[in-house]
């Protein structure tokens, strides 16, 4: 009996040890080919960095109402300043418990002095994807800051639990409004952002559920009737959007209560917008909860970009729906053919080793090279925001082109 117990103990210890060693090995970060090949932007001026040097500051809850990261044009930094590393991370177990999936190089200088000589700059509020961190979108934020915009990305307090997604339906648009109110205060004399931001010129950009939040903050309104009808259609055809239906439809009363409404609206919900928003960009943004009537409330210029193979925010229920139903006189749609949902998230210079062995979808896409896709996104988003926020005619001309300059990209627009 003692021998059996001892044997079991030893075998258990060995199995535990082997598993621990294996886990430790597989969870270590390792470089990928992407790190070795510097990204080369071949596709046009708006895909490359702009003329501004970029600074970055992270504001904690001690400094701002919600944690946020700010990218801004900065004075020329000292030569030889090492590049910054960003994490592409997901809050797995709690709002403060992020797991880094990959890391990538940035070029912003932490805490650099803002370049006030060419300010104030337009404001871009960047809303990250559900449970994904702000730094996962630094590749886009740095790009926009280098083109003379101040990008503020609030850290929405949530983690990867579809059971609480309904809360974000309310808290995310509110977070965006909180950022705008905070910036309003801080640009005043003596504030942290004094003179840096032109609070009258604002755009909202978001990915996935951040795309929903951006559309809501820009004027789109939820519509119970349209949403539930879309979900009924989705259930009969087993459409991937049923994931969102399952997460939200049973909680619509809770959403209404959290939003401070007396009861759940049967059709259009009240707007959670700020009148100063001048433009909106939705990257694989969810829009099914707005439906056609809710999106028709959107009148500011909109750009919707999505992957046609996206099963998390299916193209026809997000990007396509937005473009087809927004009332905006200027709107554009960019379809990345066969791209999946997370193509818009962080770059992947170094990844957890397990991700090189098994395709988990975080850093791999079935049809697209990640850097190439990011170049296309940078190109269109930069051109759109330069056109809308800075009245850049060259950028507007790019948006008016009805050409097929990029393989595997379908582009259409009206109003340019």
């Amino acid at each position: 009996m003692r021998k059996l117990l001892f044997g079991t103990f030893v075998v258990g210890l060995v199995i535990l040890g082997v598993l621990a060693q294996l886990g430790s090995y597989l969870l270590a970060l390792t470089s990928t080919a992407a790190e070795l090949q510097a990204t080369v932007n071949h596709i046009g001026p708006f895909a490359t960095s702009g003329p501004h040097t970029v600074g970055v500051r992270r504001l904690t809850v001690d400094e701002a109402p919600i944690p946020m990261t700010v990218w801004y044009p900065a004075v020329v930094q000292a030569i030889g300043v090492p590049s910054l590393t960003y994490s592409y991370a997901i809050n797995m177990l709690g709002p403060n418990s992020s797991i880094t999936l990959a890391t990538y190089k940035g070029r912003a200088e932490p805490g650099a002095t803002p370049d006030m000589t060419q300010g104030p700059y337009p404001l871009v509020v960047l809303s990250h994807g559900f449970a994904i961190t702000s730094s996962s979108y630094a590749w886009l934020a740095e790009q926009l800051a280098s083109h003379g915009m101040v990008v503020v990305s609030p850290l929405h307090r949530e983690y990867l639990d579809p059971g609480v997604l309904w809360r974000s339906t309310v808290t995310r648009p509110k977070d965006i409004l909180t950022v705008l109110a905070y910036v309003d205060e801080e640009v005043k004399s003596g504030g942290e952002l004094e003179g840096l931001i032109d609070v009258a010129t604002v755009a909202v950009v978001g990915h996935s559920y951040g795309g929903y939040a951006a559309l809501a903050a820009a004027g789109a309104r939820m519509d119970t009737g349209a949403f539930t009808a879309a979900c009924e259609t989705a259930y009969t055809s087993n459409d991937p959007v049923v994931f969102l239906c399952d997460a939200l439809v049973p909680h619509l009363n809770d959403v209404a209560e959290l939003a401070g409404l007396d009861s759940r609206p049967t059709e259009l919900w009240p707007a959670w917008t700020d009148g100063r928003v001048d433009a909106v960009v939705s990257l694989a943004g969810d829009a099914v909860m707005f439906g056609g009537p809710g999106l028709a409330e959107l009148v500011v210029p909109v750009m919707a970009i999505g992957g046609t193979a996206d099963t998390d925010s299916p193209f026809m229920w997000g990007t396509g729906l937005t473009y087809n139903h927004a009332s905006s006189s200027r709107r554009a749609e960019v379809a990345l053919e066969d791209a999946a949902h997370l193509i818009f998230a962080g770059e992947c210079d170094n990844v957890r080793r397990i991700m090189t062995l098994a395709s988990l979808g975080f850093c791999s896409d079935p049809a697209w090279d990640r850097d190439r896709a990011h170049d296309v996104v940078k190109y269109y988003v930069t051109a759109f925001l330069r056109s809308e926020l800075k009245r850049d005619h060259q950028a507007a001309a790019v948006l008016a082109l009805d050409d097929h300059r990029f393989p595997k990209v379908r582009y259409r627009a009206v109003g340019y």
């Binding site: 030893v10 210890l13 040890g17 060693q21 270590a28 992270r58 991370a89 992020s98 730094s135 170094n350």
Partner: protein, 262 residues
Amino acid sequence: MATAKSERSDTRGTGAQATTTTKTRLKRLTRIAGILYLAIFVLYPLSTSVRSTLVVPGDAATTVQNVVANETLFRWGMAGEATIFLIEIVLAGVLYVLLRPVSRWMSLAAALARASEGVVMAAANLFTSILTLVVVGGAGYLAAFDTEQRDALALLFQDANEIVILLWGLFFALHLVLLGLLVYWSQFFPRILGILLMLAGVGYFAQSFGTVVAPGLAGVLSTGVLVLAIPGELVFALWLLIRGVDMDKWHTRALEAIESQL
């Protein structure tokens, strides 16, 4: 005459009893060594996993955010590392006694190398983590640094920790090579165990020197050390636990060593 015969009989009796006691103690010692080895085999990857999950190379802000949000986990990781240091010291002593009959000086050198590894681990790994905790702790005087500077400082200590691993790796590599030689020459362990341990030592040497000389190969070298070290150390630990040493041969080598005073 009768008295002399009786004295010889007593001497034989005492000798036989001593051998039995020695065997029992030897068996216990090998088991202790095996269990300690296995404990390190389990604890080390668990402790380092905590660190590698929370610390993001190059990303100071995320690292600090992770450490602050998961301070208890970070401290458990430190506790795991501290336990390893203590086990290393005890294991160094146990292995010294087990292999002393082969070569006293070499066994002592191997034990000193292992003990040094433990001390360097304790002084550096644990210390860098304590400093990280101090920096993220929010003491008033740290207001002299702005947030970005504090974040950078916290990551600096964790980066230093990565270098320190290469330092104690040198001591550990030396220990494994010497241990491998002792096992190979011992006659009371299979020679293949000695070869496997020496290979493990070569792996650690390659990692420590190689990463310093060619940092670009760090990933390959860390994989290499895993492939080379795990079989040797795991098989040795299991052998100690399950088979132990060949008692008679150990005893013979012990007597030879006493005679030769080496």
